[in-house]
Symmetry: C2
Subunit: 429 residues, 2 copies
């Protein structure tokens, strides 16, 4: 098997395919901000105005001129004239001068002239002695006793404290989460340019492969990869386009992959793992365009017979047919290519640290990915570890070995296995 | 503010609301497996047959009777008659007896009589000496030289090695990922019963709140919470139902929340943070049904004025109006209630461990959630830590302080702040 003589390391293989991808801005589309959850921003978003646009109170209290409160204490309170109440949702109709204050609610707009808010807790409403007795109504002149001083700006959200006019509030490449949607709404940005979902053509090949709807005859197996890969592509932000099952015939595979390449932004072919089928796949891929195959064979388990190619500026993948290999390899290579086409900023891959329950052997020079189940354990506080990871051993044909796993554990190429009790990083599936 | 005299701890508050939720199975719906990504299984999924259903080769080689290879070595090879080739996708039409073998590809079905496969690498095709010279064709009798012995079962996937008939292959409450979809397809399970998405009614209240489409006048702010909470609800597996903006008037809020409660499985009201508005919200919630308000005030920052209620068997939340508080509190309380309604198994919350860049003060007895930015740093290998966490300080009104954050850091109630350099767990946003 000459193609395996020079296996690439997974890191080199990924760098190779990413490097060959045409360096172009993602194709963008304009969508409603409300529908942008999980999408990638195609360009920077600028603030059309500052936020807040007016000084707001962060507490319930009285809007004051801070200077008027200086020196106030419980023993020696200050007194200010209450001249009105700030309405919610409108600018106060009055302005304040020294010696006066206005009732204000959280979120209310500070009246012109005021520069701080004193919390209700530090005040008391008192009758103005010159007014005589009786209940204090709105139109009566009242006095507020203040037992605390406030500094200028205290309990106030300043104009532009969140964002200022013209600021880049969200950078291109950002993944839109609930907070981004909220932020855009605050600024009236109700539409966003997001990266169009790259179309990923998926072809499943194999004479033994049949549709999941059909009851297999002896020797036949149902198509798993089309559907698991389509789900992974969706998860990664791509749009899967299914080209169905193709028999192990060069001309049929060539036709299907040519059509897929023409209609999509990238193509994923899963093939059987036998040498003859691999040859058909590599020949079909080579026929798709230049430069063609970049990597043929990766020093990784599962997934050694992986093919990475670039044909006429589009990435083409030949993945092993074993369902576990296909999913693991697609995670390693297809997902990062989708992310690059989306122009997505590098994300924090969710992972946890865990203690390994058993020894896992591995071959030096090869990177291994092992499915593991996680369970919690107590003594994490000081060590930063609160999971244990138990490998789910199983051949890479066994799809349910992945279905019961919580994550994947990487054994780096420079290790010859991992020891029980060792600290490992588990990437959440 | 008497409602704050007895603040619940966040843990107690969550336990209280979860405990009051009616203990019933999630409402389920039948959907196409292909569309089930991210959904929660409403019931256990059983295997209708074993997988694989026939013994399969895991390599390219020759199907043999293992006993026939015993003792074979490079120095003393064994010889077996090649009687045919196993077709892909069909049962072999022949059976094997001692002394013979058949060519088989990866994934091929083992012929009756064989119990192992010897890899191509350890074999050589030789002409049968009795046949004379010439190219060996398919119809000629050929011999395979074997330089290695194989054990019974070697390089074979056995019947039921992945799953056996009648086995629970996926448990109810499982979140459907790409591997689950693939596994179901392998078994011909093309439809699944998943939990129906709980409808979450969302009401935004406040005289100052206007629609994002409108340019605010002084004193007005655009509605952020409806949209950020709707996105969070979608992310958590719920179906947001928007009831729009309601002014700070008790009867209007009562009407809107009564309608929302009747039409949805739970209701979330965000209100302003002023005392008067909180009173209106709590009165409206109290009017919705028994037992009513369970928790009024949680010892957490941000989000102290949170209301958790149960009205006629449905959860009702009164969240603070500040956009950051609303999102953080919804993450703490609304999301777990959605997950319980979905019957979802506890998920591994994606988090990373990080070293804190600066001291963060906090009040003993109160749980604090601080938005942080993560960046990678090198020396993680031995410590299990490869991020540093830098707090994004900002008042809870500042939505963009969350938009630039990567995660939330929890300062437990028993801590009086955290120190620079301390190891902290950051939950990914």
């Amino acid at each position: 098997m000459p193609e395996f003589l020079r296996l690439s390391s997974p890191t080199t293989a990924l760098e190779t395919i990413l490097h060959e991808l045409p360096d172009q801005k993602p194709v963008s589309e304009n969508i409603n901000t409300f529908l942008a959850l999980g999408r990638i921003l195609a360009e920077d978003v600028f603030s059309p105005h500052s936020l807040p646009e007016f000084p707001r109170s962060t507490v319930d209290g009285y809007a004051v001129i801070a200077r008027d409160t200086f020196g106030a204490s419980e023993a020696q309170p200050s007194y200010l004239n209450l001249i009105g109440e700030v309405p919610m949702g409108a600018a106060p109709s009055f302005l304040l001068t020294s010696g006066s204050c206005a009732l204000i609610n959280t979120g209310g707009m500070l009246p012109t002239g005021t520069d701080a808010v004193i919390m209700l807790e530090y005040t008391q409403l008192v009758r103005n002695s010159s007014e005589g007795s009786g209940t204090i109504g709105r139109n009566e002149s009242s006095e507020i006793e203040i037992s605390h001083s406030v500094a200028e700006g205290e309990n106030v959200l300043h104009i532009g404290e969140d964002v200022v006019t013209g600021q880049v509030v969200l950078a291109g490449g950002t993944c839109v989460r609930p907070a981004e949607i909220g932020g855009c709404m605050a600024l009236g940005i109700t539409e966003l340019y997001v990266a169009k979902k790259p179309k990923v053509g998926i072809i499943s090949s194999g004479d033994e492969v049949i549709s999941p709807q059909i009851r297999p005859l002896p020797g036949q197996v149902r198509d798993v990869n089309t559907y698991s890969l389509a789900a992974l592509v969706s998860q990664a932000g791509g749009e899967p386009v299914l080209y169905g099952i193709v028999p192990d015939k060069l001309d049929v595979l060539k036709n299907a992959s040519t059509k897929a390449l023409a209609e999509c932004d990238m193509v994923v072919i899963t093939a059987g793992s036998s040498a003859s089928v691999r040859d058909i796949t590599s020949e079909a891929i080579t026929s798709l365009g230049k430069p063609g195959i970049l990597v043929h064979g990766v020093n990784v388990r599962p997934g050694k017979p992986t093919i990475l190619a670039m044909c006429n500026g589009k990435a083409v993948f030949g993945l092993p047919g074993n369902p576990v290999s296909a999913l693991v390899i697609a995670g390693l290579f297809v997902v990062p290519v989708i992310e690059k086409l989306l122009g997505a900023k590098a994300k924090t891959k969710p992972s946890v640290f865990a203690r390994l329950t058993v020894n896992i052997p591995s071959q030096a020079g090869r990177e291994d990915w092992v499915a593991v189940k996680l369970s919690e354990y107590g003594e994490w506080k000081n060590s930063g570890v609160h999971y244990i990871a138990e490998p789910v051993f199983g051949k890479s044909n066994l799809i349910f070995s992945l279905a019961i796993a919580d994550g994947l554990l990487r054994i780096p190429p420079d290790a010859t296995g991992l020891d029980a009790g060792e600290l490992v990083e588990v990437f959440i599936l």
